[in-house]
């Protein structure tokens, strides 16, 4: 076990910069980005300004080159017109957005699919040269398309991050059709909105429904729930049906048959969701387990960020959502959760874990050394890619494919570490709902992201 732990400890991602320096860098970057948003000229616009200036001054005026004179005037004129139009449009839109009320089409969204949000902006079809586009700054989402409908651009968005968000921040970009000038500003739309992780193919997964069933081990700490193979002395109140008459005939002692104490049919399941990098698919697996009642009849659930146990379905889903914003050590609430639920009796433990290494593996180590029986770990992924699948010369010439998702090496490291901790690992593909493998074997090295 110690050897295994040495491996796990070495898997922690290295930190390049100390915390305060990193924070300062992030702040500087943020301020610089804001300043760049207000600067109206793009790189192409500045290049055109340079070309037009050289054409005008060095050739148009100095050498009386009429071709370059017109070209210089044209470039500079277009740049000036587009900058004025873009700046005035941006100002007008900013003022209008400050007053315009927007209503959400729904308050609950799901990741992975483009959905209308109810937000729209005027398409400005009547204004030449000007284009309006926008993106989401927070939460993480991709604006799938801007559908033009009755003179308005209506938003459809594909969310990528689960959670409960008090507001949505958009970056509205007003630019010209030639790419010469651009002004961006931010707009905040109050929420709240709930974003659930999409289930993909995990909806009906056998592995989740079988987690609490199956044959396990007889154990003195288990419930009296197995076959009646145990014997004990008769005590008043025992049913006469279970008296072992043959033993009584031989020994003249009244013995009764009792069920064996076993963990084979755990009536209780406790499940914990560990938050971490690339944990969206795993959160979807947890959601599927809660919604499809794959955690047996009696269950308790908790997640990073709110480690109090709950048996309520909607509260458990709420925990799945809020775990997205958890910024502490991943898996740090597991110990507290188990301290709360374990005294209530034996229970099967299912841990929904992210596919990347992190401090949650420390928690798993201390957990497995204390706990009897195996811990089942469910890891879900959207895509697995192999960064070393391409040869070196191909990497020089071509951009790598399939960089979205989880690196195969990372996933294998997590599987190996959990295997050494004697955990039962199940790796699920969210897109197809298929089991990709366990701690030792992993299928489908490359899949498309959901």
């Amino acid at each position: 076990m110690a050897v295994a732990w040495h491996d796990i400890a070495s898997m922690r991602p290295p930190t390049a910069l100390p915390g305060p320096a990193k924070g300062a860098m992030a702040r500087v970057r943020r301020v610089a980005r804001r300043a760049a948003d207000l600067w109206p000229l793009t790189a192409l616009g500045m290049a055109l300004a340079t070309v037009a200036s050289v054409a005008l001054v060095s050739f148009g005026f100095k050498k009386l080159d009429l071709i370059l004179l017109v070209l210089g005037y044209g470039g500079a004129g277009l740049l000036a017109i587009s900058t004025v139009l873009v700046a005035s449009t941006a100002l007008g839109l900013w003022l209008w957005l400050g007053r315009a009320p927007f209503r959400w089409s729904t308050s609950t969204f799901e990741t992975g699919a483009p959905l209308p949000t109810g937000f729209s902006l005027p398409s400005l079809w009547w204004l030449p040269l000007v284009q309006v586009r926008w993106t989401w700054v927070s939460p993480d989402a991709a604006v799938a398309d801007h559908v033009v409908e009755r003179g308005r651009l209506r938003e459809r968005v594909t969310l990528r991050q689960r959670g409960i968000f008090p507001s949505v921040t958009r970056r509205v970009v007003v630019r010209d059709a030639f790419g010469l000038s651009r002004i961006a500003f931010r707009h905040r739309q109050p929420g709240p909105i709930e974003v659930l992780p999409h289930l993909g193919g995990i909806r009906r997964l056998q592995v989740l429904t079988s987690l609490t069933g199956g044959e396990e081990y007889p154990h003195p700490m288990g419930l009296e729930d197995g076959d009646r193979v145990e014997l004990r002395r008769y005590v008043p109140g025992d049913s006469a049906r279970f008296i072992h008459w043959k033993v009584f005939g031989r020994t003249r002692k009244l013995m009764v048959r009792t069920p064996e104490r076993a963990l084979s049919r755990a009536r209780r399941t406790v499940a914990y969701l560990v938050a971490g990098a690339d944990d969206e698919a795993t959160a979807a697996a947890a959601r599927a387990a809660i919604e499809e009642e794959a955690l047996a009849m009696d269950w308790q659930f908790a997640a990073d960020g709110s480690s109090d146990a709950t048996s309520d379905r909607s509260e458990a889903l709420h925990k799945v959502l809020t775990s997205s914003g958890f910024a502490g050590r991943s898996g740090s609430g597991m110990k507290r959760f188990l301290a709360e639920v374990d005294p209530r009796g034996p229970a099967a433990l299912v841990v929904f874990a992210p596919p990347t290494t992190g401090s949650w593996l420390d928690e798993m180590r201390s957990l497995t050394t204390r706990r009897y029986g195996r811990v089942r770990v469910v890891i879900a992924v959207d895509a697995v890619y192999d960064p070393h699948a391409q040869s070196r010369w191909r990497r020089w010439f071509f951009t790598p494919v399939g960089s979205s998702g989880v690196a195969r090496g990372d996933l294998e490291r997590v599987g190996r570490a959990l295997g050494k901790l004697r955990c039962e690992v199940v790796i699920i593909d969210r897109v197809s709902g298929r089991v990709l493998g366990d701690a030792r074997h992993l299928d489908s090295p490359r899949r498309r992201a959901a």
């Binding site: 080159d65 009429l66 044209g74 059709a177 951009t399």
Partner: protein, 282 residues
């Protein structure tokens, strides 16, 4: 923030836009080559630029790295230069086609390949990063500017092959140069246009055309920049304007007489030597 690449236009509009860009590339290359190579090379350069632009648009959507595209283009152009050198310096092609034919063939092949490679690289890069579109604009600017270099310093009676014809019709060559400048600007700006909807693209180009028409019409009205000699207060030299319709502030271009402007001695000598060379060739 990374500059956004050109959006992928789809359908007929996308195809039309790509064809338009390819034609402008072809025209740019053919104009650039026109003053340096025989007529066959002009056609080859047009097709090279046209094809190269189409190839570049496809190339820009592949996973090939931009750095690989640039380095590859430089290497390929170097190889084309080597090929031309081996064709013109070797005796095999000259023996088969004759020295003039070998030179023409080498020039045509060089124009075709260079235009194809350079256009493909420029288009591939500008498909990915908008900033690279400035090279396409420079191609058009350089091509048109070098075609009309002789008219600089107020010598609007040159190049003679154009100015003589215009003057013979009784018009002012200034308008021709201004119009050609406007055309070059429109071509260059069409290459920068990033509009996915056909109607909006037409409206935007209409605005640009209107702007350029205003510039072309207003420039002679407002007044051209005075020649360098005049600006310094010096007397006009032999190269300064004489009898041309746009010196000073004028409300409309003056009709010019069909009198040829005095030609400097050096140019006269060059013209004589050119005509004697053509006689010798014939």
């Amino acid at each position: 923030m990374r500059a956004t690449a050109q959006p992928v236009s789809v359908g007929v509009v996308g195809a039309l836009a790509e064809l338009g860009r390819s034609t402008i590339h072809g025209l740019g290359w053919s104009v650039l080559v026109a003053t340096m190579a025989p007529s066959g090379s002009v056609v080859a350069a047009f097709f090279g630029g046209f094809g190269g632009c189409l190839i570049g648009a496809k190339l820009g959507r592949t996973r090939l790295r931009t750095s690989a595209v640039v380095v590859g283009a430089i290497l390929l152009i170097a190889m084309v230069a080597l090929l031309r050198s081996s064709l013109t310096h070797g005796s095999v092609l000259a023996a088969a086609l004759g020295p003039v034919g070998a030179l023409r063939f080498a020039g045509t092949l060089t124009a075709l390949l260079s235009a194809t490679i350079a256009s493909a690289a420029m288009r591939a890069c500008s498909t990915r990063r908008a900033l690279f579109a400035v090279f396409e604009l420079l191609l058009i600017a350089v091509a048109f500017a070098q075609l009309f270099i002789p008219h600089r310093h107020g010598a609007i009676n040159r190049p003679f092959y154009l100015a003589d014809w215009i003057i013979a019709l009784g018009w002012d060559p200034t308008w021709l140069f201004l119009f050609m400048g406007g055309t070059a600007t429109v071509f260059g700006l069409v290459l920068l246009l990033r509009e996915q909807r056909f109607g909006r693209a037409v409206v935007n180009l209409g605005v640009v055309a209107l702007l350029l028409a205003m510039i072309v019409v207003a420039t002679p009205m407002v007044g051209m920049p005075p020649p360098a000699g005049r600006r310094r207060g010096a007397r006009s030299s032999s190269r300064s304007v004489q009898g041309h319709g746009w010196q000073g502030r004028e409300t409309r271009p003056r009709r010019v007489c069909r009198q040829r402007a005095p030609v400097p001695e050096q140019v006269q000598h060059r013209r004589v030597s050119r005509s004697s060379r053509s006689r010798a060739l014939s």
